[in-house]
């Protein structure tokens, strides 16, 4: 087709123009929810990226003998895929961003329709595996897959509390996928699923109703999840209704954030979930958490951590590719980028990116015992 615009070829000259200020700038694109009910999520991500960019820009980074700085261009898409697509067109056309981060699978799919043609990399923050399984050559998927959690969660909860599970995941796709993986796994391990339903945090104003129904079945373990704060509410109300068993907490919710909501770990006793980044023992965590707290006055979440790290991966990949605008070249050197991450920046340890673009991360699991979080070994 003759009419399609080879926009990136123009992009080269344009990038140099935008560096008129006397320095070379690489624009980094972001399209995510910045207003509306999911804005808290978009904000956490932006914070992580901003923090990394600030650090990187202190010195700049060198590619092909030139020193570059990063500039973040964030656009609001209100979670709507068509807005993501429009934003991406704009980011590519006006800012020549070699990469666009987007934290929802709908947005990723909408971008995958044209990202290979328009030549930009998608930084997908979604644990939806199909994002990278459909063979898009310019997508990287940042968060870990939940599959690594199934075994340690199941074993721990079953041993400590018993075999009867009530599953009340959130209605989001992620929650549903999680449940679909966990339930057969639980049954395979000799467990029994006594209740299954989902909560919708966008519509429910009270969880007593669903919990009453779940607890009627006398479960030993509750599977819960979603954003940390409402998940904490669910756990708390379950306790109020007299639940004494353990919680399996889906990795979207963070034990530390849940604790913050109610002031103590007491009601989370016996919960197992992902290790909160602030307690994780990766080499870069302490410094990152410190800086984040200083700048934003609160604890970082894993979204922030992953995006922080990915900015460094990206810079290293650009260095390795000796190119700051060719998405294909950068994608080819993502593995080099991962390998070249300085130790003190490793807020997570990501050894590998697979051929489809998915990051392979070692997961860390934590549990609440005697009012404290303790690390649980993963085989």
């Amino acid at each position: 087709d003759s009419t399609s615009q080879p926009s990136t070829s123009e992009g080269k000259t344009e990038t140099e123009n935008s560096a008129d200020l006397g320095e070379n700038v690489v624009n980094i694109g972001f399209s995510g929810p910045l207003s509306g009910s999911a804005a808290y999520y978009g904000e956490k991500i932006l914070n992580g990226m901003e923090l990394a960019i600030e650090e990187i820009n202190q010195e700049g980074f060198e590619v092909n003998g030139k020193t570059y700085k990063l500039n973040l261009v964030a656009l609001d898409d209100k979670y709507l895929p068509n807005e993501t697509a429009a934003n991406a067109k704009r980011l590519v056309e006006q800012y020549h961003t070699p990469i666009i981060f987007t934290p929802h699978s709908g947005g990723v799919y909408a971008l995958q329709v044209f990202n290979e043609q328009d030549k930009f990399l998608i930084g997908a923050y979604t644990s939806e595996p199909s994002v990278t399984e459909k063979g898009n050559s310019l997508t990287i998927r940042i968060p870990p897959s939940y599959h690594g959690y199934l075994e340690p969660f199941t074993t721990y909860a079953m041993e400590k509390f018993g075999t009867k599970l009530a599953a009340i995941p959130p209605v989001t796709q992620y929650g549903q996928d999680w449940a679909k993986a966990l339930i057969p796994f639980w049954e395979e391990k000799g467990g029994e699923v006594v209740y299954e339903s989902s909560v919708d945090f966008a519509k429910d104003t009270d969880f007593f109703t669903i919990l009453t129904n779940a607890l009627k079945k006398n479960p030993d373990v509750l599977f819960i999840g979603g954003p940390s704060e409402p998940t904490a509410k669910v756990a708390k109300q379950a306790r109020e209704l007299g639940f004494k068993g353990g919680f399996i907490v889906m990795d979207q919710a963070k034990l530390d954030e849940m604790q913050r909501l109610t002031g103590s770990y007491e009601f989370l006793e016996g919960s197992i979930g992902t290790m909160p980044i602030i307690y994780a023992d990766y080499p870069g965590v302490a410094e990152f958490v410190d800086k984040y707290r200083k700048k934003y006055g609160k604890d970082p979440g894993s979204e922030s951590g992953y995006h922080y790290l990915t900015m460094y991966v990206l810079v290293e990949a650009m260095k390795a590719a000796e190119n700051v605008e060719d998405a294909e070249a950068i994608r080819k050197h993502i593995q080099d980028g991962l390998d070249a991450i300085p130790e003190e920046k490793k807020v997570y340890v990501i050894p590998r990116v697979d051929e489809n673009g998915a990051f392979k991360t070692n997961v860390r699991v934590g549990a609440v015992e005697n009012g404290e979080i303790i690390g649980i070994k993963v085989n």
């Binding site: 904000e43 339903s197 007593f208 129904n213 509410k233 109020e240």
Partner: protein, 287 residues
């Protein structure tokens, strides 16, 4: 049986909240003939103000609620003065769009002031009470009792006092109200103030069992609309009964039909009722 009673109690709790919000909405509708979508934002602001009073100023719960009621009332009145009053003579769709504009603005403002994250409102009434195998928390009992008290007071105010009746009069004939000497501006402001108060009370009561966040108004307002339609727009008993109908149908529906589809239950219920009674349950007479 035990479950049924427990679920009835749950329905009563949530229905009380719905009823309070729907009451404000229905009052404003009566005066303005506009479905005020921005009412959800007032609810949200009510929640945030109570929260801020408790957390930042250390006020006790009840005092914080009083402050919040006043603030939300004033924001509501401000809305009336700045937007709905100038628009009172134009198409009602315009006021509706303006209300949407206000909603977007107030949500963004809340996000700016308090951040986009979920917040927890403390309450002195965390105690759990077990009676005959049923679980209550004091806060929940408080919600029910307070809501009913507020509704009774409101009813007495509207029915038995001249000032209250002036609200009803104006909702039935604006000019007629002027001609008996009712100050329309005062009544409109009063109505918005009361609506704001009711929303703030509802938000402050329910927030300890839920969360405070910029989008919290959405959850409630859509249901409040369903309720006032169910009960007949502008009808006060309709709003109350409708609130409890939705509350119960949600908790009972979640138990005996499907928890996943319980939202649909409320909407389908409405569709069925309106199909049979196109003007709502409490509609008056023919035409």
């Amino acid at each position: 049986m035990e479950t049924l009673v427990q679920q009835l109690f749950n329905g009563l709790t949530i229905g009380s909240v719905y009823a309070l919000v729907a009451l404000g909405l229905t009052l404003v509708y009566g005066i303005l003939h506009v479905p005020n979508f921005a009412h959800g934002a007032i609810y949200m602001i009510g929640g945030y103000v109570t929260l801020s009073m408790m957390i930042y100023l250390g006020l006790p719960y009840w005092l914080a609620i009083i402050v919040s009621v006043v603030v939300a009332g004033f924001v509501s009145v401000l809305m009336e003065r700045l937007v709905f009053h100038p628009l009172r003579k134009s198409l009602s769709i315009n006021s509706m769009i303006a209300a949407i504009g206000l909603l977007l603005f107030l949500e963004a403002l809340a996000q700016l002031l308090w951040g986009p994250d979920f917040r927890q409102m403390p309450t002195p009434y965390n105690q759990v009470v077990n009676i005959a195998g049923l679980t209550f928390t004091v806060q929940r009992i408080l919600i029910i009792v307070a809501a009913i008290v507020v509704m009774i007071l409101l009813y007495i105010f509207l029915k038995k006092t001249f000032i209250g009746r002036s609200i009803i009069a104006m909702s039935q004939n604006r000019e007629g109200a002027f001609l008996v000497g009712i100050n329309s501006n005062k009544v409109a402001m009063l109505t918005f103030f009361i609506a704001g108060m009711l929303a703030a009370i509802a938000a402050s009561l329910t927030s300890p069992i839920n969360l405070v966040f910029p989008g919290m108004g959405h959850l409630v307002i859509l249901k409040a609309f369903v309720i006032i339609i169910l009960g007949g727009m502008g009808s006060i008993p309709g709003a109350i009964v409708g609130g409890y109908i939705i509350g119960f149908s949600e908790s009972i529906g979640a138990t005996y039909i499907s928890s996943d589809y319980k939202d649909i239950i409320a909407f389908v219920l409405l569709i069925i009722i309106l199909t049979i009674k196109p003007n709502g349950i409490f509609a008056k007479g023919e035409r």
